[in-house]
């Protein structure tokens, strides 16, 4: 599982039926690369989360038939050191 930070919510109305009504989030890693994950937890922007990839991402959804390859599994209670690093990157 990877540690990523929620940047924003993602609205995507027109989608394949297999994706169902799952909420989407834009995530950023410590290097600043973006990815999109389905979110069964309800993670707000700014929070650090851990995500599962591949076929495990589908099992992490309440409905395992949902089409996804990246799912947020939980919000990390405390994650400080990387926060400063990302803030510095955005300012530079």
């Amino acid at each position: 599982m990877e540690i990523l930070r929620v940047v924003d919510e993602l609205v995507c109305t027109r989608r394949v039926p297999g994706m169902q009504l799952s909420a989407l989030r834009v995530l950023e890693n410590a290097q600043g690369a973006l990815s999109v994950a389905t979110d069964p937890v309800g993670a707000p922007p700014g929070k650090w989360v851990f995500v599962t990839a591949g076929s495990a991402a589908r099992l992490a959804m309440k409905d395992a038939t949902t089409i996804t390859d990246l799912t947020i599994c939980g919000i990390i209670d405390r994650w400080e050191e990387e926060a400063g690093k990302i803030g510095a990157m955005q300012n530079s």
Binding site: M1, T52, A64, C73, I75
Partner: protein, 85 residues
């Protein structure tokens, strides 16, 4: 399988039900390397060098075929010289 080093425990109160109360650990390829999160199936402590499995083996090793893990610790290495790797 990959050889990784346990850095610290990860606390996540708000998590999906499927994860239950399984312990999570932050692991690194090498000290100072990129971090990942792994489910701990053996019971290790920070500083241990461990053996991790990925993909569907990770789900099986975590306790059930439908457990949503993509990285699980399956063993603690008795002796490993971290400087060598």
């Amino acid at each position: 399988m990959k050889i990784m080093r346990v850095e610290k425990t990860l606390v996540s109160t708000n998590r999906i039900d499927a994860f239950g109360h399984r312990p999570l650990l932050v692991v690194q390829d090498k000290p100072g390397g990129p971090r990942s999160v792994a489910v701990d199936a053996v019971g290790c402590v920070p500083g241990d060098w461990v053996l991790c499995v990925g993909s569907s083996a990770a789900r099986d090793a975590a306790g059930a075929k439908d457990f949503p893990s993509d990285l699980t610790i399956v063993g603690i290495i008795d002796r490993w010289d971290g400087e060598k790797s």
